[in-house]
C-alpha cells in the first residue's frame, strides 16, 4: 500500500468511525482490566494487611497476659516454624535495640498514624545485604517496648507487576486488533465506494455507457448502486437525446449550406456576373465557407470532447511532430519577419492521437504567429519530465489579461482586441478539448511581454487510476 493510499484510508469516514469505536472499546477494556486489577492485586494487599493486623493484636494480647517472656516465646515459636519465610517480627527495647526477631534493625522510616511502614528493608542473612519490599506494622507495648510485625511483600509486588504487565499488554493487543479490524472493514467499504468513484470518473471522462457493478449481496450498498445506475441510465438517455437533436440540426444545416455554397460557385463559374457582382459573389462564397468551417470546428470539438477518439491512441513521437509543425509554420513566421526558435527534445514517445495533437499545437502556434507583431519572437521549448512532458510556447505579442485567461477556452470567446482579426473563436476551445482528451493541462502565464502557454501531457493518459490514488 503506497503512502497516498494509506492517507486516504485514514481519511475515510468508515475508518474514522472504526477509530471512534476503538476509543470507546479501549475505555471499556481499560475499565474492565482496572476492575480485575483492583479485585486481584488489591485483594492480596488487603489480605496481607488484615493478617498483620490480626497477628499484632494477638501478640499484644499475649504480652498483656503473659508479659515479655510469653511474647518472646510465641515470636520464637513462629520464627522457628518458618525457616526463611515471609513473616517478619521484631521486638525492641525503648532505645529500639532488637531483643528478638528476624530483622537486623528497626526501620528508620516514620510509621503512619496507624503504625504502618511500607519500605525496603535489608532481609539478607547476616553479613549480606538483600533489600526487600516489606509491609510492616509497629506497636508500642506497655513498658516502653516496641513490637513490629510485617510481611515480606517482595513476591506480592512481583505478582502485582506481572498482573500490571499482563493488563498493559492486553490493552495494547486490544488496541492493535481494533485498529487492524477497523482498517480491514474500512478498506472493504472503501473498495466498494472506490468502485463507484471509478465508474463515475469513467462516465465523466466521456464513457456514458458505464454502469456501477453490483456485488450481488443485495445489501444496502447494492440498493444504492441500483439507484445510481438508474439515474445514470436516465442521464445517458437525456444526453443521447441532446446529441440526436444536435446531429439533426447539424445534418439539416450542413446540407443546405453546402448546396448554397455550390450554387454560388456555379453562378460565379457561369461568368455572367459583372465586375462588382463577382466581388459580391466571392464575398458570399467566403461567408459560406466560413460558416461551414465554424460548423465543422464545432462538430470536431464535440467529437473530441466525447472521448471517442481515445480508442485510436497510439505512440506519438512529439519531437518529430513538433519539428514537422515547425517546418510547416516557419515560412509563415519568416513572412511576418518573426524569429521562431525551437529548443529541446523529448526522449520517449507519448500515447495519444497524432493528428489531434498536431491540430492542437498548430492552433496554438497559429495564434502565436497571428497575434505577435512583425519582427517579434516566438519560442517553442520541450521539457522532458519523468511521467509527463511539457511544451511551452511563448510569444512577444500582446498577451492575455489575467481576467480572460480562463475564458479564452470557451467556445466563440474572443478578446475585444482581436475581434477585427480573422478567426471563429473555436481554435483554443479545440486545443482545450484535445489536451483534456489526453488528460493534460494548459497553463497560461505572462511572458512580459506576451503570452507563455505551457501544455503538460502525461506519457500514459491513465487519469482514472492516477486520480483515484
Amino acid at each position: 500500500m503506497s503512502f497516498a493510499t494509506s492517507t486516504k484510508l485514514f481519511k475515510s469516514s468508515t475508518f474514522r468511525l472504526a477509530l471512534l469505536y476503538m476509543a470507546l472499546f479501549s475505555v471499556s477494556v481499560l475499565l474492565l482490566l482496572g476492575f480485575i486489577y483492583w479485585s486481584t492485586a488489591g485483594y492480596m494487599v488487603r489480605q496481607t494487611e488484615a493478617t498483620i493486623e490480626a497477628e499484632i493484636t494477638g501478640l499484644a494480647e499475649r504480652y498483656n497476659l503473659s508479659g515479655l517472656s510469653g511474647l518472646s516465646k510465641v515470636i520464637n515459636e513462629r520464627l522457628a516454624r518458618q525457616n526463611r519465610g515471609t513473616a517478619l517480627y521484631l521486638l525492641t527495647d525503648s532505645e529500639l535495640r532488637p531483643i528478638i526477631g528476624n530483622l537486623k534493625q528497626w526501620p528508620k522510616e516514620q510509621p503512619s498514624e496507624q503504625g504502618w511502614i511500607s519500605s525496603e528493608i535489608d532481609l539478607g542473612p547476616p553479613g549480606e545485604v538483600e533489600q526487600h519490599q516489606t509491609l510492616v506494622r509497629t506497636f508500642h507495648l506497655r513498658g516502653d517496648f516496641h513490637l513490629l510485625v510485617g510481611r515480606d511483600v517482595h513476591d506480592l509486588e512481583k505478582i502485582q507487576d506481572l498482573i500490571r504487565g499482563a493488563l498493559f499488554w492486553g490493552l495494547l493487543i486490544t488496541l492493535a486488533l481494533a485498529l487492524a479490524g477497523g482498517a480491514m472493514i474500512s478498506r472493504a467499504m472503501m473498495h466498494r465506494i472506490e468502485t463507484i468513484n471509478f465508474t463515475c470518473l469513467q462516465i465523466m471522462a466521456g464513457d456514458l455507457a458505464q454502469r456501477i457493478p453490483r456485488t450481488g449481496g443485495d445489501d444496502d450498498f447494492d440498493r444504492l448502486v441500483d439507484m445510481l445506475n438508474r439515474m445514470l441510465e436516465q442521464i445517458e438517455e437525456l444526453m443521447l437525446g441532446v446529441k440526436q437533436v444536435t446531429n439533426n440540426i447539424a445534418h439539416d444545416l450542413r446540407t443546405p449550406l453546402t448546396r448554397l455554397r455550390r450554387r454560388l460557385d456555379i453562378l460565379r463559374e457561369n461568368g455572367n456576373a459583372r465586375g462588382g457582382d463577382v466581388e459580391l459573389l466571392d464575398q458570399a462564397i467566403g461567408e459560406a465557407d466560413g460558416l461551414l468551417t465554424t460548423f465543422k470546428a464545432l462538430l470536431r470539438i464535440s467529437e473530441v470532447e466525447s472521448g471517442i477518439r481515445r480508442g485510436g491512441f497510439k505512440d506519438v513521437d512529439m519531437t518529430v511532430l513538433l519539428q514537422d509543425l515547425a517546418e510547416l509554420y516557419t515560412p509563415l513566421c519568416e513572412e511576418k519577419e518573426q524569429a521562431f526558435v525551437m529548443e529541446g527534445a523529448l526522449s520517449r514517445p507519448i500515447i495519444g492521437d497524432r493528428d489531434l495533437l498536431f491540430q492542437a499545437f498548430a492552433n496554438i502556434l497559429d495564434n502565436a504567429i497571428k497575434y505577435t507583431p512583425a519582427s517579434g519572437s516566438i519560442r517553442l521549448r520541450m521539457h522532458d519530465q519523468p511521467d509527463q512532458l511539457k511544451i511551452v510556447i511563448c510569444d512577444s505579442g500582446p498577451g492575455i489579461p489575467i481576467a480572460n485567461r480562463e475564458k479564452i477556452f470557451e467556445r466563440f470567446f474572443r478578446l475585444e482586441t482581436s475581434r477585427s482579426s480573422p478567426g471563429n473563436g473555436l481554435g483554443l476551445s479545440l486545443v482545450a478539448a484535445i489536451v483534456n482528451l489526453h488528460h493534460g493541462r494548459i497553463d497560461l502565464t505572462d511572458n512580459r511581454p506576451g503570452l507563455n502557454l505551457a501544455v503538460t501531457l502525461p506519457r500514459h493518459p491513465e487519469p482514472l487510476k492516477e486520480r483515484l490514488v
Binding site: R254, R268, I308, G311, G312, L328, P331, L332, Q359, P422
Partner: protein
Amino acid sequence: MRILVIEDDIDTAAYLVKGLKEYGHNVDVAHDGRDGFFMALDQSYEALVVDRMLPGMDGLSIIRAIRTAGNQTPSLILSALGEVDARVEGLRAGGDDYLVKPFAFSELFARLEAIVRRNLTTTEQITNLTVGELEMDLLSHEVKRNHQTIDLQPREFRLLEFLMRNSGQVVTRTMLLENVWDYNFDPQTNVIDVHISRLRSKIDKQFGFPMLHTVRGSGYVLRDEH
C-alpha cells in the same frame, strides 16, 4: 466516367449525383449496402463513393469484399464525424481515400479525380514526371523547367511531386496536408498558401508563364498552359 454512389441518405446521394452529373459523369446510386455490393461487382465502374454506415452491409465490408474478389476500382469512403480511427480503418480495408462529412463538393470531387488518376498511373513504375516544360526525376530528385535546374527543399519537392502527379486537377489544401505533410488536420490560417507561394517563386517566377494556379475556394492546380 462511370461512378457508383452507395449512400443510404437520400439527400446526400441526390446532392452527389447532381454534382457529379454536372461535371458530365454517369452516376448510379445504391441506397442499400447489399445492392451496392452487387452493382460494384457486376458492372464496371471507374470509381466508387461508399458511405461507411449502410443498411444491409457496411461500407468497409463492401470494399473488403470486392477487393478480395480482385476488383481494384478506386474507392472513396465517406464517413460521419466521430467514428473511431475511421481513416486508418478505411484505408486498411482497401479504400483509396477517405472523407469526413460534412464536406464541400469541391473537396470530394478533387479527391475522387486524384484516386482515379492514381489508379491509372500506379500500374507501371514511374521514375520521372513531366508536365509541359516541367520535368521531375524521382530517382535523382532533380527538377527542371525548360531544361533549367531548379533547387527545391525536400518538402517543396514532395509538394511539387504531388501537384505533378495530379496535374490538370484541383488539389485541395487538406489533400496537400494529408499527402505532403502526412497530417490530417484543419489549419486555421492558410499556412499552405505560403508554401505554395514559395514553390511558385521557384518554378514560375523567371519563366514565361505561370503553371501553378490558385483555384478560389478550392485549392490549387498545376497546369501546362502552353
